[in-house]
Symmetry: C2
Subunit: 490 residues, 2 copies
């Protein structure tokens, strides 16, 4: 057997075990009995130890030196393995295991703290998570920037400096747009009516199928914080139900289907190889965002959706599809990132980006985090956070150690803006298709332009090749200005 | 660190990973999308490879030589590890991985074959499973009996010869009793009525709680073939619904709760050690059987249960609790082992025991298995098997390689007979408790006498110590004669 073949066989088993790890995470969020949390932490710690040992196996170094890739896919595969090997050999196994154990417990603690609005219950665990992640970042950065070392895990090639600069360019136009919209007279109505759980779930399944989710290789369940999980032939999605607001469930579903479609549509030849999963969190998020926003919240598609909702829920206190489109895109003050509209969403991210940079840099203590959050929220959004579950405790991310992850959401929005411009260019009849509830043209374009490639190219190249131009924030900002100024008449 | 401490730390991680493997099996039967079967087989194969490597790690041999156990628990722990190490070092890793992969696929094929009554679809896979298990048995037996080598995995210390001899002693009395009951005039009525799914699930949850199942450390789902899965803090059970027959769901649930209570009630100090799971399949089955039959089908308890069922289902065409007791214990011709009454159940096992001994010995070809099954069924039960799903395809066991497992069900019945005799001796007021739906006395006795010990003693010692006498088939046969002859007046 050649070094390349041996390396790929080793990698394939590692990928299979990584899928198992993902399934444990899914189970923990959807199925696991509460009393099992302690044992689960030990199980995940043990599996993390196995994965770490496999990813740092010294034979990988030997194989990498000797391997001769057969083609471009082989070269990309080696690039991923080389990168993973370098990263993992820098992190001591004991640290990796402790991180898995502590974050597994911290996530349960976070859920309890959020349910009872008890920040003090969570902070000691967050402190441990921050300490361990800083330790890991030190090992990875080798003298470089700690935050960049973490960010690189989610978005290879990105840096806090370039993202910070991008945010600086985005902020003025978003702040202006937000102010204009919130000051506009006659804001869109809110939905009225009853939105029973079963009907929401029925619609969620319909939407998942409409956007191309393959239920023979996945399933839909409920979770506190919706997510998509798994690659290849087993890609599961979750949503949540708020009986006073069906958009929460329905647009979460479309969003997660965007993530899941990416994983389900990667060339099956890449399954269980480093090319067999989404290439970065930013590109991943571009798929969920374009599904949810540019397509799912378009005037054309919401016309079709309105008719489906009418069947289940009556007229919901709305005049017709134009009013529904306005309501779907309502811009109003709010505390929760996952419920934020397209205009304000990136402002929520900028808040988190700055706070987590300061935490990781050591410029902000965990004990001061809640005050910092609340002050910044007041400064950016002009309202006081009423309770921790609407502030610091709203997101699962930090409890499981995801620092450097939040900015990839905004990167996803920016990429989605670019992709939508290219999609409209390539499919002039797009709005007619969307108005008929036919998403196959749009999702097929995304599948062929982006998804099928998996990890074959770098993140930025993946988007650039799909669009035919270098990605930048311009198309997103133009899209937001055009859509929302027209809708609000400002 | 002492050799003993190092060995236990190694073992603890292995046990944690074995729990993960169990959870994958649970997921496959309850949650997994159909299209994920191929990938899941690869995932389980990879994890099996990890487990096999850990269980055959040469350091275990060194640690075992040097380890000094601190107490009786430590000595029992070393006994288990020594046994596991010997068994696993005899089986090549490639064979263990292939078995995991093939049985994972074969199980999916079996489910399809059973659903469409298509034996030919399943047999090529069964042939592979038999071939691989025979290969494994050869490696384990080191010249000894192949079947004994497999049986020893489920029931340490048992042999086909002793079980065969026990069956020879049991058969005449069971055959006589069966003939007398089936010839009796006025057999008990069948249930009549409607038994909606939701009501059955409600009752299943009530019964699980009544028999002491801890839902904070487990959950109840649906599966084609009910099972219990996991140890320690995460012990899950499944049941199935037949809307024409609530007993299927309810008594499956009580049965699986017996298994689960055993795992949930083991001394938490043994968690994730070799003492932290049921000591053998026979002892396991003794717990599920005494829950289901000696307690769950007793006149006293069925009186309480009748009132609960009346609330959901009306009078079900029955006169009162005596008629209900008779119906619960109705003896009639039937094809399905899991639905068999207490009298005929062991005859179903004897059929499988003889066929699987012949398969493993090489005296029976897989191609001839269906004919052999049908002939034997006609000989033992006097009726022709109408279709494969009521014959050869009814059980999941062989598809996942469980040869040598079936006789442990009968061993469980025999042990349950012994335990019930001891329980009645120790709790004279038992029937009053059962009649009030209070199972806590009985389940508490079983917890303290059997379950809490986990793997501390050998299987036979576990039962002997709980009962105060050496276990034998006499108490079970006496119990069956007494109960059924009185009920049928024969």
């Amino acid at each position: 057997m050649s070094a390349y073949t041996e390396l790929l066989a080793h990698e394939r088993q590692t990928q299979a075990l990584a899928q198992v790890m993902g399934r444990l995470g899914w189970d923990q969020e959807t199925m696991m009995p509460r009393g099992a949390a302690g044992q689960r932490a030990e199980e995940m710690g043990a599996l993390e130890g196995v994965l770490h040992a496999r990813r740092t196996d010294p034979r990988i170094g030997d194989w990498l030196s000797a391997a001769e890739p057969p083609d471009a896919g082989g070269r990309a595969t080696l690039r991923h393995i080389r990168r993973s090997y370098a990263r993992h050999t820098r992190v001591p196994a004991a640290l990796a295991e402790e991180l898995a154990r502590v974050t597994s417990t911290a996530q349960g603690i976070w859920a309890e703290a959020r349910a009872r609005d008890d920040t003090a219950h969570f902070l000691p665990w967050l402190e441990r998570v921050v300490r361990l992640r800083r330790e890991e970042a030190s090992a990875l950065a080798a003298g470089g920037d700690l935050y960049d070392a973490l960010l690189d895990d989610y978005e290879p090639g990105a840096t806090a400096a370039t993202i910070g600069a991008m945010f600086d360019r985005m902020r003025p136009r978003l702040v202006d747009l937000r102010a204009a919209l919130l000051a506009a007279p006659n804001p869109p109505a809110r939905l009225k009516g009853e939105f029973p759980r079963e009907a929401q779930l029925r619609l969620a399944r319909l939407l998942a199928e409409t956007f191309g989710y393959d239920f023979t290789r996945g399933r839909l369940d409920l979770a506190v914080h919706p997510f998509s999980s798994g690659s290849g032939a087993d890609v599961r999605i979750t949503t949540r139900i708020d009986e006073s607001d069906p958009f929460n469930c329905l647009y979460s579903t479309i969003h997660e289907v965007g993530h899941a479609a990416y994983e389900q549509n990667i060339d099956p030849a890449h399954a269980l190889t480093p090319l067999g999963e989404g290439v970065s969190m930013g590109v991943h998020e571009s798929q969920s965002r374009i599904f949810e926003n540019q397509l799912g919240r378009s005037r054309a598609f919401t016309g079709w959706l309105f008719a489906r909702l009418q069947t289940e829920f009556g007229d919901m206190g709305l005049d017709g599809p134009d009013a529904f489109f306005a309501t779907v895109n309502r811009v109003s003050p709010g505390f929760i990132r996952t419920e934020a509209d397209e205009v304000q969403y990136n402002l929520h991210i900028m808040l988190r980006f700055d706070l987590e940079r300061a935490l990781i840099a050591g410029d902000l203590a965990v004990a001061d985090l809640e005050a910092a959050w609340n002050d910044r929220f007041m400064a950016d959004f002009g309202v006081a956070v009423p309770r921790p579950s609407q502030g610091l405790l709203q997101d699962v991310h930090w409890s499981i150690g995801l620092f450097g992850y939040f900015p990839t959401y905004s990167l996803g929005n920016v990429y989605a803006g670019c992709l939508m411009q290219a999609l409209r260019r390539d499919r002039p009849a797009l709005d007619d298709e969307l108005a008929a509830g036919d998403l196959s043209g749009a999702t097929g374009w995304l599948r062929d332009a982006v998804q099928v490639h998996g990890g074959l190219m770098t993140p930025a190249d993946t988007i650039a090749r799909a669009c035919g131009f270098t990605p930048h924030e311009g198309p997103l900002l133009d899209y937001l200005d055009d859509k929302f100024r027209a809708l609000y008449g400002v």
